[in-house]
Symmetry: C2
Subunit: 203 residues, 2 copies
């Protein structure tokens, strides 16, 4: 085993440190966050910081870093109070990744990547047509993380659209049936293979 | 596509809602969190809420729910200021899952599951010997989430121990080379297959 201390991590060049620390936290979901500004101009950005916060009420969280392309997303969420989260399937991984490019202001990542925006039930943010799991959220809470200036944005799930083939009888989802991917670090994509579902653990 | 509204989600039985909402956020890391109390009694608990918070300083986050077995973990982190995060490999998934059982107070999940505790560099929390990626953290920040009473616990990475075969030249990790698993929902385990690493996206 290779042993690395905090002082070494802080002494590394930024590129190396960013790669290693981003990969350390294991496999992560890949989500496209869809928003619109108050004029209706759409924005789409890929995130790997999606997390479950709670089921009742149904809450999801995302971490936002201030000085990135994500800032349009955060601005739109703040001004409209709504956004969508769309899980990414194998067939559009490259388009999802491409939304992380710094397009000029006024360019929608939907047009730039060819992913299709759809609007449902007058929800004020666009969903991604290609996605097998689409979630519409209403902004619920924003927490500022003092340790590094990032933000945790929590939203309540208002609308879900699911590929029916992934839904199990007890509410569980078999996301592999829709070829949903995961990632590691900033740029590595993986296709999870189902191993097993384990029973509730008892002593 | 099946469409589900917020009011339906709130009307479901708890078991169904918990299954579906936990699965909605996609694939998640599987991490064993190791702690000790001030007397040195060890504790080990499986988490699927591990998240990257930032690389400089190197920070990781975990979500804690108050009324679960995780409370021993949170108590130990608060009293000692330290904990470990150990990624889970295919060979010990069942033992990792088993740590979620409600063992009587005074039983260490290390003994109960057969996973081996190791201590490194006088770090005041136990690492998991079987893990190919072990991380020692110092408590940095605690945020209370108003929306549902959960807590985001952020730690700074003080020590990393890595299986050398996963480390790439530029700092990236190929976690699949050590059979690191991911999960979906509360109980489904998956083995990610490497697809591709994509270049930094440009317009």
């Amino acid at each position: 085993m290779k042993k690395i201390h905090n002082t070494q991590i802080l002494s590394w060049q930024q590129h190396y440190r960013t790669n290693l620390i981003n990969a350390l936290s294991g496999f992560k979901p890949v989500a496209l966050v869809g928003t619109a500004d108050v004029m209706g101009n759409t924005n789409l950005a890929v995130f790997n910081s999606l997390m479950h916060i709670g089921a009742n009420p149904p809450l999801l969280g995302l971490i936002f870093r201030p000085d990135t392309v994500e800032r349009h997303t955060l601005g739109n969420i703040t001004s409209t109070g709504h956004y969508t989260i769309n899980l990414v399937g194998r067939s559009f991984v490259r388009q999802a990744h491409q939304t992380s490019a710094r397009y000029p202001s006024g360019t929608s990542e939907f047009e730039a990547t060819g992913l299709q925006a759809i609007f449902e039930d007058h929800f004020p943010a666009p969903f991604v047509k290609e996605s097998p799991v689409r979630i519409g959220l209403r902004l619920a809470e924003r927490l500022d993380i003092q340790a590094n200036g990032t933000h945790l944005i929590i939203g309540e799930i208002m609308l879900v659209e699911l590929d029916e083939e992934v839904l199990e009888e007890d509410g569980h989802l078999r996301l592999d049936k829709a070829d949903v991917v995961c990632c590691n670090g900033l740029d590595s994509y993986y296709l999870p293979q189902f191993m097993e579902r384990l029973p509730y653990a008892k002593p």
